[in-house]
């Protein structure tokens, strides 16, 4: 299952970095929870997120909104995703913590470290692949530069 999670993360990162955001919700279960927060909030048990989606439909809605409604300068990400650290595992799936770093390239061509942190995942098998039941994106820094448009 570990290999399948590595594969899932590789495909997940490629979908976002290749600007195939429409493919991104498919990595989640229909009743998933996807949340972007910070280490400080996580430590203090504060539940609010920068993004808080409790269904796959909400993820698809966010992508549609980014494409059709929200206004932001063109930009791109490069995800560097670490090797998953398996926290728990049984037949129904696994919990894992995986480091990530996201570089953001802006319209002027400037590349910055936009975010680093941990994916805290609850993953279930789905045939030969795996699906995210829950992904908490816990950013190391409490600071977001300008805006967070494209998902992490």
């Amino acid at each position: 299952m570990n290999d399948r999670l590595i594969q899932l993360n590789a495909e997940y990162a490629a979908a976002i970095d290749d600007d195939r955001l429409e493919d991104w919700p498919a990595f989640f279960t229909a009743d998933c929870l996807y949340r972007v927060t910070t280490r400080d909030n996580h430590r203090r048990g504060m539940p609010a997120g920068l993004i808080y989606a409790d269904s796959r439909d909400m993820l698809a809605d966010r992508v549609l909104s980014l494409r059709k409604a929200n206004i932001y300068e063109s930009q791109g990400y490069r995800h560097l995703v670490g090797v998953p650290r398996i926290l728990e595992q049984d037949d129904n799936g696994l919990q894992a913590a995986t480091s990530f770093m996201v570089l953001r390239v802006d319209r002027q061509g400037r590349t910055d470290v936009f975010a680093s942190g941990l994916y805290l995942d609850d993953v279930q098998p789905d045939g030969a692949a795996m699906l995210l039941r829950r992904r908490d994106v816990v950013c190391d820094s409490s600071r977001i530069d300008t805006l967070l448009a494209i998902p992490l």
Partner: protein
């Protein structure tokens, strides 16, 4: 019209006619000397700066570090239950006294040379004050009472903690004005709980964001989330209240729904060929009329840098702090109430998608100030046109006005003598 005399040290490249608030020269967003003068005349002037929530420092010894403009500040609750604030700068050689964002301490000791302060900011002891084995130490003339960080006046209103460096600041109720007081009380009438904190770095001068939060004109034009998806907000009326001094405002949008009922949002495709433009999961748009008055959206600002937001049930305070001529920190504190039901708390979490750095109806605000900052790069001899709804700073029963932005500039010019 006579041009006002700029404060000493500000070499204005173009005049700014006195008492004009519908024209703002772009050089005020671009100059280091203006930023320096703002620290003294605005943030350390006769204003109340938002510092903290009482709920963030509930126990004796609890402290928070924050800023007044760019001045680092410690806000703390002492054993007497009162809240005190002082500059976070050791009286000895200027190092920060407190190094954590939040904490609990019965006293504060500077890490550099262990000068020790009580929670009211009084210098209590100096390491080796009498030297070692009779040698060295402070001179006999040294008087601890004459040394210490600058202390702030502190006041509270509805659980908000404000501080001032100035002797002539009016009482907080008078400073806010009756209408703004009512609008704060309306939202913060019972104990709050912090449910999340985020900091957003804005690539622009702080005043461009102060304008943005007072700008009722841009809401449906820049933020196209609702209109793109044909989401009808059933909003029928609204208005803007501007305080007597101009600097504080409250704008509101009312819903047609019966007070106390849950608001149903409807969505229709704008045109049949746009039928694919539909939000599938509308649950984040459910909301409860928790204040029982049909107001679905209220934005409120207090000069210079405080914002209270109620967007449906997403409640937050924002603190605007300059970090440079073209950089600003925006601190978001998301709130719930201590008596929230689990359902209402969940509703707030889902509605947090609307606001903040990734919000469907606010992410653009993080970038638009930068668009202005970059747009005006060589336009220091030009200025902005802020004439929607006229030239004055009165309250209005409509929102197609820039009255509250002009109010900000009136308060700003008064404080800056500019």
């Amino acid at each position: 019209m006579p041009a006002s005399t700029p404060p000493a040290g500000i070499a204005a490249p173009t005049p700014w006619p006195a008492e004009v608030y519908s024209y703002v020269p772009y050089w005020v967003f671009q100059r280091e000397d203006v930023l320096q003068a703002e620290q003294q005349r605005v943030f350390e002037g006769p204003v109340w700066n938002y510092l903290a929530l009482e709920a963030e420092i509930p126990q004796a010894g609890d402290f928070k570090t924050t800023f007044v403009g760019r001045m680092p500040v410690v806000v703390t609750r002492d054993a007497d239950g009162e809240i005190y604030a002082f500059e976070n700068r050791c009286a000895h050689r200027g190092a920060l006294i407190a190094l954590d964002d939040f904490g609990n301490a019965s006293e504060h000791t500077c890490v550099y040379h262990a000068w020790r302060y009580d929670n009211q900011g009084n210098l209590r002891s100096v390491a080796f004050e009498n030297g070692v084995q009779g040698k060295g130490g402070m001179p006999k003339t040294f008087c601890r009472e004459r040394h210490g960080p600058r202390k702030l006046r502190v006041t509270t209103f509805c659980g908000l903690v404000f501080g001032s460096l100035h002797d002539d600041v009016p009482p907080i109720e008078e400073y806010l004005g009756d209408e703004v007081c009512e609008r704060v009380e309306r939202v913060l009438g019972k104990p709050v709980e912090v449910i999340g904190r985020f900091t957003q770095t804005l690539p622009n001068n702080w005043k461009l964001y102060a304008e943005n939060v007072r700008d009722t004109y841009h809401a449906s034009l820049l933020h196209t989330f609702f209109t793109t998806f044909g989401i009808t907000r059933l909003t029928q009326e609204g208005g803007v209240r501007v305080s007597e001094n101009g600097g504080n405002h409250a704008s509101a949008s009312y819903s047609r729904v019966v007070a106390g009922e849950e608001t149903a949002y409807t969505q229709q495709a704008i045109r049949s060929e746009n039928a694919e433009l539909r939000i599938t999961d509308l649950s984040m748009l459910n909301n409860v009329d928790e204040f029982g008055d049909g107001i679905v959206l209220q934005m409120l600002s207090v000069f210079p840098g405080f914002v209270l937001q109620q967007i449906h049930n997403a409640i937050a305070v924002r603190q605007i702090l300059p970090t440079g001529v073209d950089s600003t920190d925006l601190h978001w504190t998301y709130l719930g109430f201590a008596d929230d039901t689990p359902e209402l708390r969940r509703m707030r979490l889902k509605q947090s998608n609307l606001v903040g750095p990734a919000g469907f109806v606010s992410m653009e605000d993080g970038a638009v100030g930068g668009f202005v900052q970059r747009g005006i790069a060589v336009a220091e001899h030009e200025g902005s046109v802020i004439e929607l709804g006229g030239h004055d700073t009165q309250s209005q029963d409509y929102r197609a006005t820039e009255s509250s932005i002009r109010g900000f500039w009136r308060a700003y010019r008064t404080n800056m003598s500019l």
